[in-house]
């Protein structure tokens, strides 16, 4: 059974159609790449699944349950988790406390347990400056924080929105390893990314969105040869 199934998902903003009749499935423990031009509706799609935006039409089915109408905080508790494209740390908390918040509310743990769990996640991500406040962290560390906060709730499916943006090669390599290890622990993962080398290396399958619609899907090697994808997204140099 697919972990997540989107059926005819549609989202309008006023007159603008951001996501148009999108249908696809994500299989268990799959790493799915979602790519497409800027403004194609990738982030909107993530927000719809996470429940921070309400759908205009269609259904979201998670582990066989229709969650289209569930509020965002309940979806997190069910196991749908996401990161944000621009990092959004809670600036009044240390990194560790940032991570704790997820454990406290998505898993309903006590303060002590939550702290323990936050430490565990930090270790997993090799994040060693967790006592600092976010304004003292580098972009790479903030990206790690973003992931830590998303996985501390022990999600079944995780949406990673441009976690590679602004990272250098070495950092990307680390990040790829992290994502893989997450998958190995049983998490289903959707990555939204503009760095094609990463998509190529990481994903089992990609979906290409353009103007809110799926224009191609399949393994990256296949999709990257698609004329439509090249014209709309990759460009001639690829």
């Amino acid at each position: 059974m697919a972990t997540l199934r989107l059926e005819n998902l549609t989202k309008h903003f006023g007159g603008l159609v951001a996501v148009n009749n999108v249908t696809f499935e994500v299989a268990e423990q799959e790493i799915l790449g979602i790519i497409g031009p800027n403004g194609a509706g990738k982030t909107t799609l993530t927000s719809l699944v996470a429940g921070t935006l309400q759908v205009s039409g269609g259904r979201i089915v998670f582990e066989g349950k229709d969650v289209t109408k569930s509020p965002a905080h309940l979806r997190v508790r069910m196991g749908i988790s996401r990161t944000f494209q621009t990092v959004r740390p809670l600036k009044d908390f240390t990194a560790l406390e940032n991570i704790m918040v997820g454990a406290l509310f998505a898993r309903g743990e006590s303060l002590g347990k939550a702290k323990e769990r936050a430490y565990q996640v930090c270790q997993l991500l090799e994040f060693d400056r967790a006592e600092r406040y976010p304004d003292r962290l580098t972009v790479f560390e903030l990206k790690k924080l973003e992931i830590a906060r998303a996985i501390v709730s022990d999600p079944k499916i995780l949406f990673l929105d441009e976690i590679m943006a602004g990272l250098n090669f070495e950092e990307m390599k680390q990040m790829i390893n992290i994502v893989r290890s997450l998958r190995d622990r049983g998490v289903t993962i959707c990555v939204i990314e503009h760095v094609m080398s990463v998509i190529n290396e990481l994903t089992d399958r990609v979906i290409v969105l353009d103007r809110g619609e799926i224009i191609a899907q399949g393994p990256y090697q296949e999709v990257s040869q698609n004329r439509r994808v090249i014209a709309a997204y990759l460009g001639e140099e690829g």
């Binding site: 429940g51 921070t52 905080h73 944000f84 959004r88 908390f93 406390e97 509310f105 898993r107 998303a150």
Partner: protein, 302 residues
């Protein structure tokens, strides 16, 4: 060390009526009432919501308490609970409607609600005594200032403990997350509306109880003075002068501004409010994080 100083302060506060004159006790009682308002305003602010409704729920509690004693023969001490519960119930109903609002829209709506309460108090004369207000023949404890002081002190301790609960438990993580970033809070599994409503109801109950105590202490309510903007602006100034998002900040602010205004008055009977205004301006300029916040910053940087 910390526990020791807390015990010392608490002991001093309890025995104050035996060592100080009535005037000081009275001034401290008043400061404590404002301290509770400042704390409750700050507790709401910790969720990121700027409330201008402090005076409204204060007045609501005051009216409920006086009416409870006068029309329903409730015991004056019990009437404080009546004031708190009435304010809490009202805020629960209103909260469902207004807690979708944010920033200045929330602020202005709570301010407008205060005016609505005032108009109701003025016009429902059968119940509220109308514009002339309502009086009781006896103040609480027959006007015994020591007992009144202890009552206010116990109430203040309750409020401080509540504020500390907000600071030390998971509530802190919920409301600070909401203040910092609602989207992230939602995505971390926090039920934003539930927490906002809880905080709104609890802080309104505190304000209602403070109003009830004030009304019982002076044995009257009257629309213009009971819903006076003083009960809104002064607590805000206290919290900001002391330092927001903490328990100690509003406490320090209330003590500093409360004693300053009283002392200035004794120092110069005329025009002391000019100096008071200038002191507020200077505090903001030189102590940006408030008295307590700035001191803590200095200590940390050492």
């Amino acid at each position: 060390m910390k526990t020791l100083s807390i015990i010392a302060v608490l002991a001093l506060a309890i025995i104050l009526p035996f060592i100080a004159d009535i005037y000081l006790i009275h001034v401290v009682s008043t400061i404590m009432i404002f301290m509770c308002l400042a704390l409750s305003w700050d507790m709401m602010l910790r969720t990121g919501q700027l409330s201008f409704g402090t005076a409204g729920f204060f007045g609501l509690g005051a009216y409920a308490a006086i009416i409870a004693v006068d029309d329903f023969n409730v015991n004056p001490v019990m009437s404080i609970f009546v004031g708190a519960v009435f304010a809490a119930l009202t805020s629960f109903g209103l909260g469902i409607a207004v807690l979708k609002l944010r920033e200045m829209y929330f602020a202005i709506t709570t301010l407008a609600l205060t005016s609505v309460f005032t108009v109701l108090a003025r016009n429902l004369s059968d119940l509220t005594g109308g514009a002339a207000g309502k009086i009781l023949f006896n103040a609480i404890f027959d006007g015994d200032p020591k007992k009144t002081y202890w009552l206010i002190l116990s109430f203040t301790i309750v409020v401080i403990v509540l504020s500390e609960i907000f600071e030390r438990t998971r509530v802190k993580y919920a409301i600070s997350s909401i203040r910092n970033d609602e989207l992230v809070a939602k995505s971390s599994g926090i039920n934003i509306f539930k927490y906002l409503l809880i905080v709104f109801v609890i802080t309104s109950a505190i304000q209602g109880a403070a109003g009830a105590i004030y009304a019982q202490q002076y044995a009257f309510v009257e629309p213009d003075s009971t819903f006076s903007a003083n009960f809104l602006l002064l607590p805000i100034a206290m919290a900001l002068v002391g330092g927001i998002y903490s328990t100690i900040g509003p406490i320090v602010g209330a003590l500093v501004l409360g004693f300053t205004s009283e002392y200035l008055k004794l120092l110069m009977p005329y025009g002391h409010l000019i100096i008071y205004g200038i002191i507020i301006v200077l505090t903001v300029i030189f102590l940006r994080k408030g008295v307590y916040g700035t001191i803590m910053e200095k200590i940390r940087s050492k």
